[in-house]
Amino acid sequence: MFLQGNEACALGAIAAGCRFYAGYPITPSSEIMERMAVELPKADGTFIQMEDEIGSIGAVIGAAWTGAKSMTATSGPGLSLMLENIGYGIMTETPCVIVDVQRAGPSTGQATKVASGDVMQVRWGTHGDYEIIAFSPWSVQEMYELTIKAFNLAETYRTPVFLLSDEAVGHLREKAELSKDVEIIKRSPKSDKPFFGPGALMPTLGQGKKLSITGSTHDEWGIRKTQSPEIQAKFTTHFCDKIRLNADRITEYEEYYLDGQTTVLVIAYGFTARSALRAVELAREKGGKAGLLRLKTVWPMPENKLKSLPTSISKIIVPEMNQGQVIREFR
């Protein structure tokens, strides 16, 4: 199948079981929305164009609590508007997927031009204490596959998950194999377990439970505990630990020419990793001992992998389509 990255993302969402999309169109992400508008009615799902990005993420979080797997897609300017509610999604442990097809910023910047300026925005953009999961696809194939994974991790860890794409991958057209036989994580049926915290299962409105869902600090039953330092500590630790302690399960990366002979290592993510691989191969043609570590997840970082890099490496290059953001993780 010859299709565009953004279209592959929409089809991946449908394959992963997404049945609710709310969004506001913005270049270079709009094709995701357009395709979801076509596909969701066919899959008995719901599509809605909201008044803006704040409304979009609000609807996505709300839909998740009705039992639907839900998604939105945007670009940097829209993501800036969504960040407050993304914090609400983290605090309420709401599984959902947010696609950011990055373009050049700050502000409205260059709508049709590629950049990787939002890497730190997805990591730290909303306030408070938390960890985040963000995938970084480099091909049309991965726009499909990693969207599915994003949905699965959102369910597993009960948190908003980012697909951090960019204009180059979102608008690229390539051949891709879109397997229908995909592993998806279904939401658990009604349970008597607590609603929040370690081991809690995502409840659904309308199952006969009295659900209290709040962005304020709350206990495992959702009851506001805005004065308790113990509950505050317990839950922020939980938001971080559920990702930190599972980082080796979550993180994905690929190695090219990375062994005990490698002297120059390039660490790259997203579309840049394709140019980086080309550069590494050109260097090797000339006898350079270059290698590439390609991050499929930018958050969390594969810390254990980074700690065990070969000692032969004397130089690390981190090319990015920004003025230097992820490189600070390695300094």
């Binding site: 010859f2 690229l172 390539e174 051949k175």
Partner: protein, 172 residues
């Protein structure tokens, strides 16, 4: 065989530059293991220089953009000038050019196809020029088997007029 063919489309917004490139990518899908198409354009709905790059390859392509273009399909003078002054074009020898001679006036070397003029004559619609030029390109550079090409044309959701425009190009 390690084959990589790079085709560069250049025109202005509104001519269907991206559409023609995407259609070529779709047509090439059955014959080439790896096919990519990438477009570059501005936020304007019409008039800014728009380019699209199609790469056909037998091995996985890490870099899906033009490095050493083999063929340049020039659809407008503005894009012709921009691409012929591009570093990738200047450092490449033997680049083949096919151009819309109605809108590109100064192409010294290349195959001239009066695509926009033909579109106006046959379809009373200058917007069909992209497909006429695509057809002429497919005829000149036999990168895609004619049968496979017709199969894609039949299976895809091309309008009757669009198919006729490609056929008109193939007859040039």
């Amino acid at each position: 065989m390690n084959k990589r063919i790079e085709i560069w489309f250049g025109g202005i917004g509104g001519q269907g530059v991206v559409y023609a490139a995407n259609l070529l990518g779709q047509m090439a899908g059955s014959e080439y293991k790896y096919v990519s198409a990438a477009a570059h354009y501005g936020p304007e709905s019409r008039g800014s220089v728009t380019t699209s790059e199609v790469v056909l390859s037998d091995k996985p392509m890490d870099y899906p953009y033009v490095e050493s273009p083999n063929i340049f399909i020039a659809m407008h003078q503005k894009a012709y000038e921009e691409i012929t002054h591009h570093k990738a074009t200047k450092t490449t020898k033997g680049i083949n050019i096919i151009y819309d001679s109605t809108l590109v006036g100064k192409a010294a070397d290349g195959i001239a196809i009066p695509a926009t003029k033909l579109a106006q004559e046959y379809f009373k619609n200058a917007q069909m020029a992209n497909l006429i030029l695509l057809g002429a390109f497919l005829k000149t550079y036999t990168l895609i088997d004619r049968q496979a090409l017709r199969k894609v044309m039949t299976e895809s959701q091309l309008s009757k007029t669009a198919r006729e425009a490609i056929e008109l190009g193939l007859a040039q």
